[in-house]
Amino acid sequence: MGQIELKGVTKRFGDVEVIPPLDLMIDEGEFVVFVGPSGCGKSTLLRLIAGLEDVSGGHIEIDGADATDLPPAKRSLAMVFQSYALYPHMSVRKNIAFPLKMAKIDPAVAKEKVENAARVLNLGDYLERRPGQLSGGQRQRVAIGRAIVREPAAFLFDEPLSNLDAALRVNMRLEISELHQKLKTTMVYVTHDQVEAMTMADKIVVLRAGHIEQVGSPLELYRSPRNLFVAGFIGSPKMNFIEGAEAAKHDAHTIGIRPEHTLVSATEGRWKGKVTVSEHLGSDTFLHVETEHGLINVRGDGEVSLHAGDTAYLSPDESQLHRFDAQGMAI
């Protein structure tokens, strides 16, 4: 249960093609993250899978059966919305029980399921409260609870953490990952935050303008990005790109080097530059260095004592160099 396959799926709004023909296979039990800049069609893709939008062409298969024309409720998928979409006039208990009530499940069985879900999500003390009386994280858990009780083939998450503050986001990220370990259900997760994608995913799908740029495990994408876009999108701080003579030395149109793969020194190195901004985080030091090849970001350890205005020498780790051709594809 929980295998989703997209075959040549397209979506047009009027004359605008938001998603050109797209194929994707989501395996049973996988945690798949759709990531991309805003407006890349990742939410639309999720809504197509959910059935909230109709496809303009192609097929969607769930567990091998064609689900293209099935209404959302019949696809055995559950969705968690960005705004949580809780029903404000119902208590937490009624919110979680709503899908069961709609499925006309015996109230005694439903009660049992609601309480199980509440226990899994630590919502036991809040069952009689209204959504308006809960914090953001608790509301998020209620929304997840409402999805769990249906025992769906797959969960769909539409940027579920973007309304939470940074600390809570890290917590909920963990909780969702733990939930996935516990339930072993397929999860499809949409986010624009590459950190969320890297930490949670079994498989990341990088999207740009409706196109799939690359599919792979987090480390695959990090180690061998297929093109400039993926290279720049995955990893934080961003990969540095250098064009021109320096790139030509490596038989490439553009070379890329990650900030963490560049050695920084105050005395010697390959590229000389001037520090414009330095950020000392204790564990790490981020330096913005203006060199003859342009602005390069570097990450050093906490001991680096360079400050704005100082001269710095940078030496890229040759083995970690990424090479791209004129079309931006990796060589």
Partner: protein
């Protein structure tokens, strides 16, 4: 510089308007109560004097009183029922994206701008009239005897006229409420397996309940004083089949020239209106709490 002096100066300066507003309300109320205890009939000059609760006794034991009370409640209840339910359905329709949406909305709102006497006359002469009215014409077209609505179902006919006037108001308020409903909630309900009907009952109606409460409260205030529509169409008749409390007070004081009796009726109407208001607030007022 909020000193004692400036504060009393402020009080002094707003006092004229406060006093004026107070007198504006208190004098008519006081005079009404005063007259309600007087024998004061314009047809019998000279026979004035204090009569205690006699005016009230006459008004409350008038056989027309209970008919009028019932008619008032039926009129208000009927109009509320039609406007709230009809308003919800119209709001649902108007919320759909259609070609010419702006014009359709203006057309729907239009009846609210027609003054009550005019709309009542239009309904009386162009719709209900068995000879010239369109309903009579339609009946004849299908081979039926034209029905004289205002003679045979006067209260229902007036209810329909008043409901026609207030439907736009209810529609407008409910439409804005409907537009403020988060579409993700409806989508979530759809994912949860709720049918269109369930989505309406479990998501939309609760969301609209607050707006509906406002509609009911405001309309009740105005509907209790419905007068022009009755005067123009049936004059409270036939008999007193369409006489409401408001109309009965008018008959007492301006047709029978009994100022004392009319005043007593007015006080009774004020008390009854307050009772209705208390009941309404008890029943639906909790919807207004956040």
């Amino acid at each position: 510089m909020s000193t004692q002096a400036s504060r009393s100066a402020a009080r002094l300066m707003i006092s004229p308007s406060v006093i004026l507003l107070f007198l504006w309300m208190a004098v008519p109320l006081g005079m009404t109560i005063w007259f309600s205890f007087q024998r004061y009939n314009l047809l019998m000059p000279g026979q004035t004097g204090f009569v205690g609760f006699q005016n009230y006794e006459y008004f409350l034991t008038d056989p027309a009183f209970f008919t009028a009370l019932w008619n008032t409640l039926a009129l208000v209840g009927g109009v509320l029922l039609i406007t709230v339910i009809g308003g919800m359905l119209l709001a649902l329709l108007l919320d759909q994206p259609v070609f010419g949406q702006g014009i359709v909305r203006i057309l729907v709102i239009a009846p609210f701008f027609v003054m009550p006497t005019v709309s009542a006359l239009v309904w009386k002469n162009m719709f209900y009239n068995p000879v010239n009215g369109i309903f009579g014409y339609i009946s004849e077209f299908f081979g039926f005897q034209p029905y004289d609505y205002l003679a045979h179902a006067p209260l229902l006919s007036i209810t329909i006229i008043v409901a026609w006037q207030w439907l736009p108001f209810a529609t407008l308020i409910l439409l804005t409420a409907l537009q403020s409903l988060d579409s993700e909630q409806l989508e979530a309900a759809e994912m949860d397996g709720a049918s269109i009907w369930s989505r309406f009952i479990y998501i939309m109606v609760p969301h609209l309940s607050r707006a509906a409460t406002v509609v009911i409260l405001i309309q009740t205030i105005f509907l209790l004083s419905t007068f022009a529509e009755i005067l123009v169409t049936t004059n409270g008749g036939p008999g007193n089949a369409s006489t409401t409390l408001t109309y009965l007070v008018y008959v007492q004081s301006l047709l029978q020239f009994d100022v004392g009796g009319g005043a007593a009726g007015g006080v009774v109407a004020v008390i009854l209106a307050n009772i209705v208001a208390i009941f309404l607030m008890r029943m639906i007022g909790k919807n207004l709490e956040a």
